[in-house]
Amino acid sequence: MKPRIEILDKLKGHVFETVSTYYKSLSDCKYVDVRLGISEFKSAASENGQSKDVVDDYDASFGIRVIAGEMSSWGFYGQSLGKNELRNEEITNLIVSGINNAYERAIANAKKKQEFKKSADSLTEVRLAKIKVCQDTVPADFEIDPRKVSLQKILKTSVDVSLQMKELDPSVHYAAAGIRTGITRELFCSSEGANIDQSLPLTQGVVYVSAQKGESSPEVCYDYVGDLKGWEIIEGKNCYNLSFLDFALERTRDTIELSGAEFLKTSKDDVVVVTDPHFNTLLVHEIVGHPTESDRILKMETAYAGRSWLFKSMDENQVGKRIASPLVNAFSDPTTMGYGYYKYDAEGTPAKRIDVIKNGILKTFLNGRENAAVLGHEPNGSMRATMSSMVPIVRMTNTAFGPGKKDPKKIIKEVKDGYYIVNHRTPSISESRENFRISATKVYKIENGRLVKLYRGGGIMANSKDFLMSIDAVGNDFKMYPIPNCGKGQPMQIMRVGNGGPTLRGKARLAGC
């Protein structure tokens, strides 16, 4: 028998007790938190109507953060958990051993920091901004329990979808469909007294299709449907209002059509571009979401994912300044549905909506407790980790451009000469996110308010601020889409986030093949 998430009912008291008491026995140990998570999930994958893989399994792990030492420093320890360890005595022993490991690192780190402090005066003790310490239980919310859907049904759905994709047209070389559904339950206990038990379901479908006509390059499409909900996502209660099959077939039809389309050419100068909500999902992710993460703001990601064009120093930054047209609003909201939904973040901070850009003015950054303390901001609960055994880092939540008032059809109709940029594909962003090139699945030429020609292999490139300032129309067609694979951190953590927005109109250069 595989362990069920309900096993945490038996363990949570012991975990809380251990965290609350054990750290007191360690000299100079200032803070401990433990996240212990278990996921039950089922998945299936198929290609061209042939089954490839099914999994019905669980995954469990824990991660421990410790702040210790005369000059308070971090230490972290994480490990996976087996079925036999999900028992009170075993889990208590493992957590004590994990705290000792993390504590040893923190103490060693603190000693070195003290030694280096003499010649590097910016080295400082770790401080966590105060939060409301919570004790709460958050049950998973779904219509159809992922755990009650049979593996056979998941496999059959996947096989049917990939078969129908493949059979849609002879130009389809390859069609794949994958489905994953399950529930993750995680305990968060801290030495401050937090005791949070939070469960989130996840159901996701992914399609991959390639089609080729004649000697031209194959056209490839890769896209997802999903939310933190149950099996109803696959049946059509999702951001597309399409069943997984219909979503897959729509993507396949697009790919077939595109495989015969002309390639877009790079424009010499800026042109008028209307970007649809799906494209703006990746745009807001890259030029608003990431550069407002406070670890980038504080230069902590310089070696990996980069800095932020919004913050040079404490004295020279864009907070309170205009970075976008007055029509542009952006927010980050973990309390609304989407891949970035939760009630508490990975530090136990209650989730809340924050305005990131209001009427074109930059308002604030996404943070965790340590970065909030450094910046002098209020913690806004934006810390997450991919698994309990990984260290939490600042993450976008459901981060999106806010809706406007204009009918998107009118936004296009008003364009005499321009391009309609539809559905995101791949981003490439400069180091501080001050410049972007993002490819679209489809690009249409707009002439006199009408879509007159489809191109493939295109997208747009612009300086981020120039593009945001150029926006002269914002649609009322707001959508939130899933981004399942945002990579950040070292070791790399792949995180799901929600992003979205309405239709926008601005100016950018076309980027072709």
């Binding site: 042939q50 490839k52 099914v54 999994v55 995954d59 953060r65 420093s73 971090w74 230490g75 972290f76 490990q79 996976s80 958990l81 079925k83 036999n84 360890e85 490991n101 690192r105 060693a108 070195k112 920091k113 280096f116 010649s119 590097a120 910016s122 080295l123 400082t124 770790v126 593996l151 496999l155 390859y174 390639s210 390059s217 056209e219 490839v220 230069k299 902590m300 310089t302 070696a303 040079k312 120093s313 864009q318 450094v374 055994s389 990984m390 594909r425 791949t426 981003p427 490439s428 180091e431 501080s432 001050e434 493939r456 292999g457 997208g459 490139m461 300086n463 120039d466 070292q490 790399m492």
Partner: protein, 488 residues
């Protein structure tokens, strides 16, 4: 910590039990232990910081069973794994999962069979296997110290950023199969990747050190190198948009190889039609000066392994030979799928990697080991500069993506560090970082090679597992675009 002997005993016991099961035709039992330690640097001279942010580790061990079962006339395959359990109970659990998870996949032909003997043995460092928490923390501070001292000696104390990490990976695995594969492997790898910025000078430099043994691992040297590179870039200028002759240094070449070229030279990409090299096997795809191959047997390189996670000895897989496409990376599944009278790939790249190394929870995918890029007519760095005469030396790029999918071949990236103008065959003024975007195509790069240096350097880029043993390579007419700079 789990010993290799424990893993070997577990896979032997598991296979003995599985062989007694009537419905099992064949089975592969894989057990692994891995521990990834990361010491992350976070120093900012003008913002309160920790110097070393969080010394951390993630550890996991367990056992996975890939088995084939007979059901009527069909053969079905299934995979199951258990975590932190090498007992008979764990084996029963894993086998039960494999049975529950079985499917009929007509592309699955057979489990791997032994092919030859491993070239590498006993190449890990026992000291790394036993390294203490305090020692690992010290390695991070050494890297920071190397950078800080160098910057101070150069007169730079303000607007300094020092980031990056020291990463230590320790892995043990054992495998035993009904096809007579019975082997084990132990690896240790150490990598320091350090980035230094002097923000008020708008410069960035990178440095790195990699190895399998502590004696040759020099994190402080990586810190020094990053600081020296940053200082060398002071006074950077922009270049005009347009086509330029460029030299890609070790890091940019590695970024392009890891993110565009190698993913396109993988049989799973061929199967999904997601490569610009579809139907090009045996055809010229690059300058005749270019050779690219994967080789997991090079002692001292951190991409090396004795055996794959399918128990096949690592070895050399030629990918591009004298400019001709000669092969693709393969695991056992795809090697059998693509095998024909003219092409018989040996599956030297079947690995079960996750973020923390070899992972019993995964079925084997395809991963590179060490990717070697070399020219038939290797030249010196000075000669390469003379060949380019006037152009751009690119030493650091970032966010390299096949922007319209691998099949299209085009990719984009931005120049972030360690780059210079080339004037009259010599390195001239530094380039201003973050002001130039590269918009080009892998086919253009491969077919417009001016020259390749003989000297190579082992290089690793963020998010990639493979080591690229990269020369410097000059390419003509690469499209560069001027973009805005930081907070411009």
């Amino acid at each position: 910590m789990i010993k290799t002997e424990d893993l070997r005993t577990a896979v032997a016991g598991a296979l003995k039990y599985i062989k007694k099961q009537k419905d099992v035709i064949d089975a592969e039992v894989f057990a692994s232990w891995s521990d990834l330690i990361t010491i992350r640097l976070d120093y900012t001279s003008d913002i309160p910081c920790n110097g070393i942010h969080e010394p951390k580790s993630i550890q996991s061990y367990g056992l996975g069973i890939l088995a084939t079962f007979k059901r009527g006339n069909r053969i079905e395959t299934g995979f199951g794994s258990v975590t932190n359990d090498l007992t008979k109970g764990g084996v029963l659990d894993a086998l039960e999962k494999a049975k529950r998870n079985r499917v009929y996949d007509p592309d699955f032909k057979t489990l791997p069979e032994p092919v030859d003997n491993p070239a590498l043995t006993n190449y890990h460092d026992k000291r790394v296997m036993e390294i203490s928490g305090e020692e690992t923390v010290d390695l991070g501070w050494k890297a920071l110290d190397g950078a800080l001292k160098t910057l101070r000696d150069g007169g730079h104390k303000k607007t300094i950023i020092i980031g990056g990490d020291v990463t230590i990976l320790r892995e043990r695995m054992a495998i035993k199969t009904t096809k007579e594969i019975d082997d084990f492997d132990e690896t240790t790898s150490l990598a320091a990747n350090i980035t230094v910025m002097i923000e008020n000078k708008n410069v960035k430099g990178t440095g790195w050190s990699m190895g399998t043994h502590l004696t040759t691992f020099k994190p402080e040297a990586a810190g020094r190198e990053a600081a020296e590179s940053a200082m060398r870039a002071i006074g950077g200028r922009k270049v005009k948009s347009g086509r330029h002759n460029v030299i890609f240094g070790n890091q940019p070449l590695t970024d392009i190889v890891s993110n565009v070229l190698i993913p396109s030279l993988d049989l799973s990409s061929v199967y999904a039609s997601d490569t610009p090299f579809l139907g090009k096997l045996g055809h010229g795809i690059a300058s005749s000066n270019l050779n690219v191959y994967d080789d997991g047997t090079i002692k001292g390189e951190i991409g090396s392994k004795k055996i794959t996670c399918e128990g096949i000895p690592t070895g050399r897989t030629d990918l591009i030979t004298n400019g001709t496409l000669t092969g693709f990376l393969a695991n056992n599944y795809y090697a059998h799928k693509f095998k024909n009278n003219l092409y018989n790939p040996i599956p030297r790249n079947g690995f079960r990697y996750s973020a923390i190394g070899r992972d019993y929870k995964n079925k084997p995918g395809i991963s590179p080991t060490n990717v070697i890029i070399e020219g038939n007519r290797g030249t010196t760095g000075d000669s390469l500069l003379k060949q380019v005469d006037n152009g751009v030396y690119i030493g650091g790029i970032w966010y390299t993506y096949a922007i319209n999918g691998l099949a299209m071949g085009d990719f984009t990236s931005t120049i972030i560090a360690d780059s210079f103008a080339i004037k009259d065959g010599k390195i001239a003024s530094p380039l201003k970082p973050n002001t130039i975007r590269i918009n080009t195509d892998i086919n253009h790069i491969l077919n417009n090679i001016i020259g390749i240096t003989k000297k190579k350097r082992s290089t690793l880029v963020w998010g990639s597992r493979e080591v690229v043993i990269a020369p410097e390579i000059a390419v003509s007419n690469v499209q560069l675009e001027n973009v805005t700079g930081f907070l411009a």
